[in-house]
């Protein structure tokens, strides 16, 4: 399959791993931001190919994992109302809220539907004028334009029974927060290629400048990730700090401007809480006031629900790359995908789930991963 096979080619991958090994003269800590990249690293066992000098830590880029507990609780409370149809992306259904999750709410009779696209939620609203249809709009800059489009469409049609419970997060402020932390160990970032397909990569210039750290915009196939690592290692070994683009088949400097425009039209930047991390200033999106009639936070009385994240949760450290999932004493013992203790164990893109699904044989066999 074109654009897939050549990026999963074992020969190319091994050659890249060898070059990384040849170039890396010292220990480098690199972080891939996106959960999709974490998934690829684990699925293809890239840590087995890499030399011990390269330590990969996994970033906060699983949108499911960082959606705050309060948002999940609100979604469950809304779904349990008899007049509401709650529409969500599939992998939100099993994310635990304080006391339940959406799949259990569904089993209790809540009208919860899974959609691939927010436009499906708009269609449901159009076809069922007697139902209040709420779309759980989560994700990074990747899902945000489609969600914005749904709100825009609903406004244009004056579809009063459609609203969105928005919990959108932005990548650059999260990288800034990680780099500003005193505990930071990360020396180079693989920026998320899909986010940059939408946003371009001009916003990463200031991060590189302010923190003197190399950032490579990377794709999602094994060869993409290895090539991104090689580009980072080359920069680090030469003492450089630039933004580079590995994912040229999808990402341009300016990004997708119509998508950025609809984001600006529908959303405004706001402080945002990240599950396991806390509030990061100006790191989220909320609906503009002119979309208030489509804002579930405004039209439903949800103010009573204020779930707080336990401060000592290890998922915070996992999401910031300070700890590996396998450092958690509950990993694979008390915390499994069937009984997740935290969100990173639920979504396929969560670092804990990726380790659990693909790599726990290496851990149990004593062939510990590098780092």
């Amino acid at each position: 399959m074109k654009y897939i096979d050549e990026y999963r080619d074992g020969r190319i991958a091994r050659a890249l791993a060898k070059e990384i090994s040849d170039r890396a003269t010292q220990h480098w800590v690199l972080m891939e931001i996106c959960g999709g990249q974490t998934h690829t690293i684990m699925r293809y066992g890239l840590d087995e190919l890499l030399p011990s000098q390269i330590e990969l830590v996994h970033g906060p880029g699983c949108p499911v994992c960082v959606t705050p507990l309060g948002t999940i609780d609100k979604a469950i409370a809304l779904a349990l109302r008899t007049d509401v149809t709650l529409v969500s992306y599939g992998d939100m259904l099993r994310v635990p809220g304080s006391n339940s999750d959406l799949s259990r709410a569904k089993a209790q009779g809540a009208d919860v539907r899974v959609a691939y696209s927010p436009i499906e939620a708009v269609k449901i609203a159009r076809a069922n004028p007697e139902r209040k249809v709420v779309f759980l709009a989560i994700g990074f800059e990747t899902t945000a334009p489609a969600n914005a489009m749904a709100a825009w469409q609903a406004k244009r049609e004056d579809l009063r029974n459609f609203s969105m419970l928005v919990s959108h997060v932005l990548v650059p402020p999260a990288i800034r927060a990680l780099l500003a932390s005193r505990e930071n160990r990360v020396q180079g970032f693989i920026a998320p290629g899909h986010v940059c397909t939408v946003m371009g990569f001009q916003e990463y210039e200031s991060l590189v400048r302010d923190f003197t750290i190399p950032i490579v915009v990377g794709g999602f196939e094994p060869v993409d990730i290895l090539e991104s690592i090689l580009m980072l290692v080359k920069q680090l070994e030469q003492g450089e700090a630039r933004v580079e683009n590995q994912y040229v088949r999808s990402v341009t400097y300016q990004g997708n401007q119509p998508a950025q425009q609809i984001l600006k039209d529908v959303f405004e930047i706001a402080d945002q809480k990240w599950r396991g991390i806390g509030v990061i200033p100006r790191s989220g999106l909320q609906l503009r006031p002119e979309y208030a009639v489509h804002d579930a936070n405004t039209i439903f009385d949800l103010q009573l629900i204020t779930a707080d994240e336990p401060a000592e949760c290890i998922s915070a450290q996992v999401l910031q790359g300070l700890k590996k999932p396998t450092d958690c004493p509950a990993f694979a013992i008390r915390c499994t995908p069937e009984n997740p203790l935290g969100a990173p164990m639920v979504s396929a893109e969560g670092a804990c789930a990726a380790y659990y699904h693909y790599r726990r044989h290496a851990v149990t066999a004593g062939e510990t991963t590098h780092g």
């Binding site: 989560i138 994240e309 699904h357």
Partner: protein, 353 residues
Amino acid sequence: MADQAKTIVELSCPAPLPVRDTVLLGHGSGGKLSAELVRDVFLPAFQNPTLSRLDDQAIVSVNGSRIAVTTDSFVVKPLFFPGGDIGSLAVHGTVNDLAMGGAQPLFLSAAFILEEGLAMDVLRRVVSSLQRAATAAGVQVVTGDTKVVEKGKADGLFINTTGIGLVPDGIDMSANRARPGDKVLLSGAIGEHGIAILAQREGLEFETTIESDSAALHTLVAEMLSVTGAIRCMRDPTRGGLSSALNEIAAQSRAGIELDECAIPLREEVRGACEMLGLDPLYVANEGKLIAIVDSSLAGDVLAAMRNHPLGQQAQIIGSVTRRNSGLVTMRTPLGTTRIVDMLAGDQLPRIC
């Protein structure tokens, strides 16, 4: 122990949810939740040695004859899909469960649960398809039942079929019989049924229509058993896909199974659809494929027999049974690294990005 409990409490990641007190959709996925249901609810209630084998069919002796019995319910939506419908599926599913025990399928029952308001024409089409599939498979529908429930209490119609067949002497296949060194054979490309259903349900269109692989496998099984009766185990990887079927064999045989990703047949269209939908084809349902665990010295001959049959032309040896990683299925990736092929907890959740 107390210390460990304390650590876990202190972790207080988002609180663990209590033991499941309601049935979730995931309990029907063929993954770990389904296995839990069988282990915690059904096995303790009906405890007996035949049931605890947990094979696709029960094999019981009556007056010296070995009789295979199996039952399956069909709740597929949509009722009609490219490559089949709920009627033909109700025959193929049950015939295949008999065939996986090496049985020659003989008789079927068919029970219909109909929803008030179902168009009679739809029912007629389904019944006629079921009849054609049964005739083609050489089985007779010898008994049946009908119930009608109120509108909204069923999705058009549900079918349950029970099958009876005879197991020839000298055949003893069970999921606990895999031994280190055995080969894992797969009869053809995976994921076609699941993707055909999903595409139809979601209104997804591809350049070529992906058809369900729904088919009766008993003649293929007969060809394979004519090579040797010593095949250790067969499974049809339906719900939960290749992964669930192999994980069950690994667990019950207390052995590891190591697959070679490059050897697993997968049609480009199915692969493309899975890429697009964020699904792993290893977990997508099949209705006309089988896995066989075969002693390595016989694997080549069995493979040749499979390839001579129309339903096994793309058969491949996809891996082997190992002593290490007992109870786990692992897979060598195209990069030469190894990863786990886990059993999913519930249904595969489409990924957000």
